[in-house]
Assembly symmetry: C2
């Protein structure tokens, strides 16, 4: 079925979390890429672990805590001013270059974001980017992170569209497969040529760029 | 309260998962450490992601699938024979050097393992190692992985000891903190000098070696 609504992951799919590297490099010369990688890894791990522990906190807190871990692990000094500055970077992450041109090409479909990001992070980010969506949905409404099925159900409930009529778009393979397990039609945007995660599902579509998706959905 | 029973994590705490490096290096010279690291990382991620997706499969399947991912990501050829050989290595992982001497020094306490490992993996491993436990408990009984509270509850139910009288021992910080969140008294064996994970809890004890724990519990 050709999807009536498209639901996009935000971090890593529309917005480049590694856009923080430059600012990290200013603070810790030559360490930007290592910080960014470990920061992102821990950020994701904490979402999974806290969901399983049933100890949800907003993504903004998780992001700050993951940064603190990453700097301690890499033995880099982090103070409140640097934390603040880097958290500010998260509110103006660059969109991937293939994103702004693709969005207007999806026709009359509803376009929504479904994100781990808490409202205090995602709303300023979307506004800053200038990208337009019909809805911006945060897991904060269900107090659990992806890939819990309740998170994907949120899009069904809020958009009023059956799950098999929703196309879900993510560059995070585990998120794409979590959405597939839930019952969405799923498009994995694999910009880096990563292997498919072994989680018992396959994406319906595998694309190298978001720019290829409008054509697929014609 | 001085614990009446001690419950140990297995992989990474009693048994060294990176003991597979040597065999990996035989198959893919110079790549053993990289394979082992990514294999372990993906193995853990799949336990978290599948628990959240509510798509449990036994740890043996997860371990095989994580190996397949790691080899594809590193562009290394993996066939059935190598998969079999490496899965066999998991049945005879070396115990850490501080483990065999420490276990007899815990006195009359019940000693148990609580592991993500499925019975087909953990039972041959414990037998091969010669280490003795009163109980070997697998998450397979509850079909969810750590750090879900139901997993830690399994130890309470099976050992017949109240949770505040159980000392839980893990080298995996997130596992230690998941157990702390559940209500155990927790000892984190930090052999590598890693930072404490930011998950809202602190271990009750932080030790560099399992050999230091008997003295702490006097």
């Amino acid at each position: 079925m050709n999807p009536q609504a498209l639901v996009f992951d935000a971090y890593g799919t529309l917005y480049d979390v590694h856009a923080v590297i430059r600012r990290c490099d200013e603070f810790w010369p030559g360490k930007g890429a290592a910080i960014s990688q470990l920061w992102r890894q821990k950020q994701l791990e904490y979402t999974w672990q806290r969901s399983l522990m049933r100890r949800y906190v907003p993504f903004s807190q998780i992001t700050r805590e993951a940064l603190a871990y990453a700097c301690e692990a890499l033995k880099l000094a982090l103070d409140d001013a640097r934390t603040q500055a880097l958290m500010q970077e998260y509110l103006k992450l660059a969109a991937y270059p293939d994103v702004p041109g693709a969005l207007p090409r999806f026709g009359e479909r509803q376009l929504a974001i479904l994100t781990n990001g808490s409202p205090d992070m995602i709303e300023p980010l979307v506004k800053h980017s200038g990208l337009k969506f019909d809805a911006v949905l945060s897991v904060d409404a269900v107090k659990m992170f992806k890939p819990v099925p309740d998170v994907y159900q949120l899009a069904v409930d809020r958009l009023g569209v059956a799950k098999d009529a929703i196309g879900f778009v993510s560059s995070n393979c585990w998120d794409a497969l979590g959405a597939k397990s839930f019952g969405f039609r799923v498009y994995w945007i694999n910009r880096t040529g990563a292997p498919v995660d072994r989680l018992g599902f396959q994406p319906d579509g595998l694309l190298g760029s978001l720019g290829d998706l409008p054509e697929v959905l014609r």
